[in-house]
């Protein structure tokens, strides 16, 4: 196959051509951010309103926490109307210790994420009629930059906007112009997690624009911290998760991104999750260094389990706590929070405040306790690292040194693969299962170039479960999908 995509920085000409022709015309509010210089100046102004020396900039909060070995709590919020946003953010900040050290992850609704702004407009209307949020997030594009600035002014901490799904470019433009962070670094992550039909090379092209946008703001004095998430489907090998993050760090770095919040969805095995995130950080630095991106800062974080959540508050609290404990024991500054509503609905302000209070007290109780170095942790790191290196090197070889090309080739050939995704280009020839200690292993590694020792390690780990639970089978993999959500009926 032939790919036109390359991992190469967009020139100003290219960038502004795309901006004018593709991005701003997407919806009428695009006009409001036409003047990029003014937007950058406004963002600078809005985010310097500060509670501490770091202002309302996620990059600086994370940097500070990383240096001090402390933690940044990151709750999530998104409701259909701006007044719900203002009310919700203020409520949580007033009823918890989110400020001064935490920040927000802000979601738009899924219609916005799919660029269906007409349907988002209907949802806004419907929400007004019903007097409640009928959208699963805040339609930032429909509301435009002035409303976004209202939200920014309503909070005392930074706002990170989740620019997710196929095309977050216009949403990111508006978010950045309002002083938020945005511009997620995401291409393979995103198609696996949220897309169905878009080809990977097109997704990379779209994302290069967002990354370059973050680069331009950063170069002009507003340090943007795009998330480089590896959340994927919720059921992926840790090596695959880490690989996705490391590969995308190169794409972001090439576009001038200087701060990356590398966060992974956790599988809830403490040793494995910590090993995964540590390997990612190490290899992000190493591969960026190798390609000459020597001034990129990486901050690590843990995202709570992405599989199904249980439908009762106490069980959800157990998950909130265990996920936060893993992130903190790993020493990762960013602690992303879900809440009790996870199984039911878009988070309410009340539940989100409860979640922040719970996690904040864990920070108090745990202090600077970290997992101790051990043989077991080292072995787990080695195995993940070997998987990531194998994938990275195969990509770079296939792409002749170009990570963008390598990624596309790997997916098409099926040696980059994961189990379950809505995305039609993924082969889906691998199966993962939990081992006796609930770590995620390959039951079938399909065509992944998994080193033989890693294969053997996974086999051996699964055989420990086999000894306890009998012959493994595909049904067990299905049960594993629901292990944290299905509560026994009495």
């Amino acid at each position: 196959m032939n790919y036109t995509i390359r991992n190469k920085r967009l020139s100003d000409d290219e960038f502004f051509k795309i901006r004018k022709e593709e991005v701003l015309p997407m919806w009428e509010t695009g006009k409001q951010v036409e003047n990029l210089d003014e937007c950058i100046a406004a963002a600078k102004e809005l985010s310097q309103v500060s509670l501490g020396a770091q202002g309302k900039r996620a990059a600086l909060k994370l940097k500070d926490a990383k240096e001090k070995g402390t933690h940044v709590l990151i709750p999530q919020f998104g409701r259909a109307l701006t007044e719900y946003m203002v009310d919700g953010l203020s409520y949580v900040e007033e009823h918890s210790e989110l400020a001064p050290n935490g920040f927000w992850l802000i979601y738009s609704d899924s219609y916005t994420r799919k660029l269906n702004f007409k349907k988002a407009a209907e949802g806004i209307e419907r929400s007004r009629q019903e007097g409640m949020s009928m959208l699963n997030g805040w339609p930032i594009v429909n509301f435009g930059v002035e409303e976004a600035r209202r939200v920014m002014q309503a909070t005392t901490v930074p706002l990170s906007f989740n620019s997710t799904d196929e095309d977050g470019r216009l949403a990111s433009e508006i978010a950045l112009a309002a002083g938020f962070d945005a511009c997620y670094s995401r291409s393979l992550q995103e198609v696996i997690a949220h897309c169905k039909n878009i080809p990977l090379d097109e997704e990379i092209r779209i994302n290069q624009y967002e990354q370059r946008l973050a680069g331009i703001y950063t170069e002009n004095g507003v340090p943007i911290c795009p998330w480089n998430p590896s959340n994927l489907t919720g059921y992926d090998s840790p090596g695959y998760r880490s690989f996705v993050c490391v590969s995308e760090s190169l794409l972001a770095a090439e576009q001038g991104v200087k701060h990356q919040f590398i966060e992974h969805g956790q599988n809830m095995n403490m040793i494995q999750d910590i090993a995964m995130i540590r390997v990612t950080e190490k290899l992000c630095y190493e591969y960026c260094e190798r390609f000459g991106y020597t001034d990129v800062n990486f901050y690590t974080g843990g995202f709570p389990f992405l599989g199904a959540w249980p439908p009762r508050a106490e069980e959800a609290n157990a998950m909130i706590a265990w996920n936060a404990v893993i992130t903190m024991m790993g020493g990762f500054p960013g602690v992303i929070l879900k809440c009790q509503d996870e199984a039911f609905a878009t988070p309410t302000k009340e539940s989100m405040a409860m979640s922040v209070r719970l996690a904040h007290h864990l920070v108090t109780l745990m202090g600077t306790q970290k997992i101790a170095d051990s043989e077991k942790l080292r072995l787990e790191e080695e195995m993940i690292e070997a998987e990531v290196r194998a994938l990275m090197e195969k990509c770079l070889e296939a792409g002749d040194g170009d990570m963008a090309v390598g990624l596309c080739m790997g997916v098409d050939a099926g040696w980059i693969d994961t189990m379950l995704t809505p995305w039609k280009y993924n082969k889906g020839n691998v199966t993962v299962m939990r081992d006796a200690e609930s770590a995620v292993r390959y039951y079938d590694s399909g065509n992944i170039p998994l080193p033989e020792e890693v294969k053997e390690y996974h086999r051996q780990k699964l055989s420990e479960r086999e000894k306890k639970a009998g012959q493994l089978n595909f049904e067990m993999a299905v049960q594993d999908l629901q292990f944290a959500s299905i509560l026994k009926k009495k």
Partner: protein, 144 residues
């Protein structure tokens, strides 16, 4: 009018802009195991694709999954489109986290009322297991 013959076939997919596919994927396996023909459409499925698939396999039922909170909006009009396509009597189920506001999710009778009003036969909360869904459909089809 003669009653249409039951042929144990269902369409399964996640509707709208929703990328959550695991619920549907688990359902698919449960229905296949129970001897059903399944057209599995994955996630991010528009209404017309459900209908096309239902026509293709002569489905007894369309099982709509929705996990992201906007199922109520996404499902409006599906029954009308079914009627237009000649699938007047097809069974429509919806399941998952079908409404974003917690005040609605916690008021399940209201959710059921709303889905009944737009022509759905049943709505299942996300605590429903795949096994229960199979069992319920069998009863509704009179084959249990």
């Amino acid at each position: 009018m003669e009653k249409r013959q039951v042929n144990k076939s269902v369409v399964i997919g996640t509707i709208g802009a929703d990328a959550h596919m695991i619920g549907g994927w688990v359902l698919r396996r449960a229905f296949e195991e129970a001897g059903f023909t399944v057209a599995f459409l994955g996630a991010v499925v528009p209404q017309h694709e459900f209908i096309n698939a239902a026509l293709e396999i002569d489905a007894d039922a369309i099982l709509v999954s929705s996990m992201y909170g906007m199922g109520l909006l996404d499902c409006e009009g599906l029954r009308d489109k079914c009627i237009e396509a000649g699938l007047k009597d097809i069974i429509l189920y919806v399941g998952g986290t079908v409404a974003a506001p917690l005040e609605l999710e916690k008021n399940w009778p209201e959710i059921e009322r709303r889905f009944t009003a737009i022509g759905f036969n049943r709505a299942f909360p996300n605590t429903c297991t795949a096994k229960e869904a199979v069992q319920t459909l069998k009863v509704d089809l009179g084959i249990d």
